[in-house]
């Protein structure tokens, strides 16, 4: 199997970017939060989104281990204005920023699929 190119990885994000309420998606490396691919609205700073998504994953990982819950797969933070969803697999993190109106179940499923595809 050939390694996914940046173009094909970016294409993986496209279907989710079209989901109503999704404002940005970034794929970043967990080790340094460097953005590998992204799809976003113009008003979203993808580097900031990647940095905070990765930081969140790293922080909860230590706590999940301490609580014997295993390795974190998906982390979601919600507020009245929206959600940040971060899914992690094999050193890569997919981070999504959505409005509160976005269908959380669809977003969760989609982000899970992207993370699995990226990890192959």
């Amino acid at each position: 199997m050939t390694a996914p190119t940046s173009l094909t990885v970016s294409a993986l994000l496209t279907p989710l970017a079209r989901v109503r309420g999704v404002r940005a998606i970034v794929l970043a490396q967990e080790i340094d939060a460097i953005v590998v691919a992204e799809q976003s609205h113009v008003d979203v700073d993808v580097d900031t989104l990647a940095a905070f998504g990765v930081s969140l994953v790293r922080r909860v990982r230590a706590h999940a281990v301490q609580l014997q819950r295993g390795d974190p797969q998906i982390v979601t933070v919600e507020s009245a204005q929206g959600r940040v969803v971060a899914a992690t697999r094999r050193g890569m993190v997919v981070v999504i920023l959505t409005d509160r109106a976005a269908n959380a179940g669809i977003v969760r499923l989609a982000v899970q699929r992207i993370a699995e595809q990226v990890a192959i």
Binding site: A64, Q73, T76, E78, S79, Q81
Partner: protein, 278 residues
């Protein structure tokens, strides 16, 4: 009483050595790697906090010292570190609280005596000089650390049964905790098979996780966070905050419990806390 002595792993002294040599990147890497394997070692969190402090990353240093205190409430290094940070930001009431606790652990420590005198003086007269920072640095640099921790049965988190707590009969629910803003257990329900200190551990982590969630939402223009959900390979953790009542509610469940149901339990718990507070 049954007691267990927890030896401090070698990585702690390695971190201190690297920090003293000025190799802060290496020190931080060794500390994080060591804490991944030994997350319950207060001295490890203290060592990492001192590295972060040296790098000027005060909030993260604060979080690590809080963690050390959650694991070992009389950890002298963590008490001095938190006292130092409070002095640095001129929060003299907090500084007094930490330094008084430090003094009760180490009554002969002259750095603590001097810092406490300063904090008391400033809290009466108000902030005026810049002497707080050097004294704070001295506190951190000279902090002594007990390299062994004694864990007795009394340190475990008891499963309390306050009347406001909902009747969770679901065996897949490992622990449900109501914690105060300082990360102490207000009330908890722990399943029979769970580790005895799981409630205290979870409560101690609420503040840290809440800080991270708050940073994330505020930096991305989403305002104040209300729910944090962590789905893991072996279960889930769901947390919510009640700012009006200054409580956090958090539930940890096994992987068999559907996430929707965990969230429903959390809503139920929140409702009971509101009812109880009134």
């Amino acid at each position: 009483m049954h007691e267990t002595v927890v030896a401090v792993p070698e990585f702690v002294s390695d971190v201190d050595r690297l920090r003293r040599a000025g190799r802060l990147d290496d020190a931080q890497l060794v500390a994080i790697s060591g804490l991944t394997e030994h997350p319950y070692i207060a001295a490890g969190h203290h060592a990492l906090a001192r590295v972060l402090y040296a790098r000027g990353e005060m909030q993260q240093a604060h979080d690590e010292w809080e963690m050390a205190l959650a694991l070992e409430p009389d950890h002298i290094g963590a008490l001095k570190g938190l006292g130092s940070l409070a002095l640095t930001r001129r929060d003299y009431a907090s500084a007094e609280r930490y330094l008084e606790a430090a003094l009760s652990v180490a009554p002969a420590d002259q750095d603590v005596v001097a810092a406490l005198r300063l904090a008391r003086d400033r809290s009466r007269t108000g902030p005026s000089t810049s002497t707080t920072l050097p004294l704070g640095v001295a506190l951190v640099q000279r902090s002594t650390e007990p390299f062994q921790r004694t864990v007795g049965e009394s340190a475990s988190g008891p499963a309390l049964r306050a009347p406001h707590f909902p009747a969770f009969d679901d065996a897949r629910l490992v622990v449900a905790v109501v914690a105060d803003v300082d990360g102490f257990v207000v009330d908890a329900r722990v399943s029979p098979g769970a580790p005895t200190d799981v409630a205290a551990t979870l409560a101690g982590l609420t503040r840290d996780m809440g800080t991270e969630a708050a940073l994330t939402t505020s930096s991305l223009g989403l305002g104040a966070w209300d729910t944090l959900t962590v789905e893991c390979t072996d279960g889930s953790i769901v947390m919510s905050v009640d700012r009006a009542r200054r409580h956090s509610m958090v539930i940890a469940a096994t992987v068999d419990l559907p996430l929707g149901l965990v969230r429903r339990y959390l809503t139920q718990l929140r409702g009971h806390v509101e009812e109880w507070s009134q």
